[in-house]
Amino acid sequence: MSFISASGVKYSYDENGSDVLKGITLKVNKGEFIALLGHNGCGKSTMAKTFNALITPREGVIYVDGMDTSDDEVTYEIRRNVGLVLQNPDNQLVASVIEEDVAFGPENLGIAPDEIRERVDKALKTVGMYEYRTHAPHKLSGGQKQRVAIAGILAMKPSCIVFDEPTAMLDPNGREEVMRTIKLLKEKGITIVLITHFMEEAVLADRVIVMEEGEILIQGKPGDVFSEVNLLKKHSLDVPQATELAYKLIGAGLRFSKMPLTTDDCITFLKGVLS
């Protein structure tokens, strides 16, 4: 059974305004890594907020692990189960000491002090920030802060984490750190939904969903989605740089058996062509 299943989800921010989500139907399987792409304002962040009951659809239903998100009784169980990491790491940290910030989630859940301690240490070790546990957040780099934010979610032991452009405000090093952490979590069996503008991050996913104007434009394996270069270009969406290069080379008469997604893929292909 799928972990998150949305069917016909419609949502608008104000009563008479146009819908931001125009009847979205999608499924996220347990342990899957999904990348959600699209322009600013295409509704992907709104979609993310429906996954943990921050907003409930105007029409349609969303089930998370069999629980209806519009059921008030299970709101906090859903929020514990589906964590959300936001874009700006600064605005997500509550306390002035790292370990106390990570403890914030479990404290809200009313967990016993000893177990909170255990969870906090484990979460900080997972994201590699254990040595910084007594530091103040403002002395850390962006990537480190974002990893602390992830630890704060991890300490609630969720089965799914939704990342809303977690690397948008980070430098390349920070982005690398955060992506490594996300990959690690995926290996640990946590379901990942990654909203991003970076195609290089999207190719790591099991499945890519592209949204446009509140609807799903195309979805499938990264290789399949990014092969539709024409469709994506028409909606002025990016493809990974390697794919872009291959696409242009095809235009120049070169033949590729399969669209390359990463730089390494591309290098292998070009080597084959050149030799």
Binding site: L86, N91, E99, E107, H138
Partner: protein
């Protein structure tokens, strides 16, 4: 420039004062402040001075920092002691026009000076040895009986925690906005007071806008982490009274008895 503002400067350490329960420290601070203002003769003033000096020596924080905190109030000390010197009653020992220097005035000045200095020293000692989170935590717990009167104790403590958390973030942001406005040709140094205050507008407006945006984000993040108020919340760190706290309490009780006894049996000087 804004980085120089030291708010609730905390100096990490492992000394006996650091290890004392923050609740005990707050209550003892209140007791000491009361004692400082209830010592009416040199003996009791001496006792309380000795006690304060002992505490700050035990705190393990360098005396330099204490001097730094005293530097801020040096003018207040000088002015109040000068005023007090000439406001005494009784036989003048020196007179210049309407200025009358009396023995009681001199005593008064000494008392005021010592009191203010002690007050600053002992309160600095609390902020130097207690982390801001511990402080808000202690305040929340000390105030919890007020819940009976429907005081939103948890909410107040949460606001203090968040405010302390965002002080450095907003300071950093102020620096950035100032730099950005200067780069656009904003003049912030020249002109009189009114002009300078007016020059703050282009800094304050973006700062407020961004603060609201941050607040919105933070609220979302807190909801994502299942925050639903103080109800049913547990804490990772539980405070409990230990040996160090007992030592502190006993020490302070001795000081208290000493000061009270001296006040009762020795004639007050002021």
């Amino acid at each position: 420039m804004t980085r120089d503002i030291a708010l609730g400067q905390f100096v990490p350490g492992k000394g006996i004062v650091h290890r004392t329960d923050p609740r005990v420290k707050i209550l003892l601070l209140i007791a000491y402040i009361t004692l400082i203002f209830c010592s009416f003769n040199f003996v009791s003033l001496g006792i309380i001075t000795a006690a304060v000096v002992t505490v700050i020596a035990l705190s393990g924080v360098s005396f330099k920092l204490y001097f730094k905190s005293l530097k801020v109030i040096i003018f207040i000390v000088i002015i109040t002691s000068l005023l007090n010197m000439f406001y005494g009653t009784g036989e003048p020992i020196w007179q210049l026009g309407f200025l009358k220097l009396t023995m009681s005035g001199i005593y008064r000045a000494i008392f005021v000076t010592v009191r203010i200095i002690l007050l600053i020293l002992i309160s600095s000692c609390l902020t130097f040895t207690t982390s801001p989170t511990d402080l808000t935590d202690a305040i929340e717990r000390l105030m919890s009986p007020l819940k009976v009167f429907r005081v939103k104790v948890h909410e107040i403590a949460m606001m203090m925690t968040i405010a302390l958390r965002f002080v450095p973030t907003l300071l950093e942001e102020t620096d950035k906005i100032m730099a950005a406005q200067k780069a656009r040709g904003a003049d912030m140094e020249s002109g009189g007071l009114i002009k300078k205050v007016k020059a703050m507008t282009p800094i304050l407006i973006p700062l407020f806008v961004s603060a609201f945006r941050r607040a919105y984000d933070l609220a979302t993040a807190m909801e994502c982490r299942c925050y639903k108020g103080g109800e049913g919340r547990t804490r990772m760190k539980s405070l409990h009274i230990g040996k160090t706290d007992i030592i502190g309490i006993v020490f302070s009780a001795l000081v208290l008895t000493g000061v009270v006894l001296c006040d009762v049996f020795i004639l007050p000087i002021i």
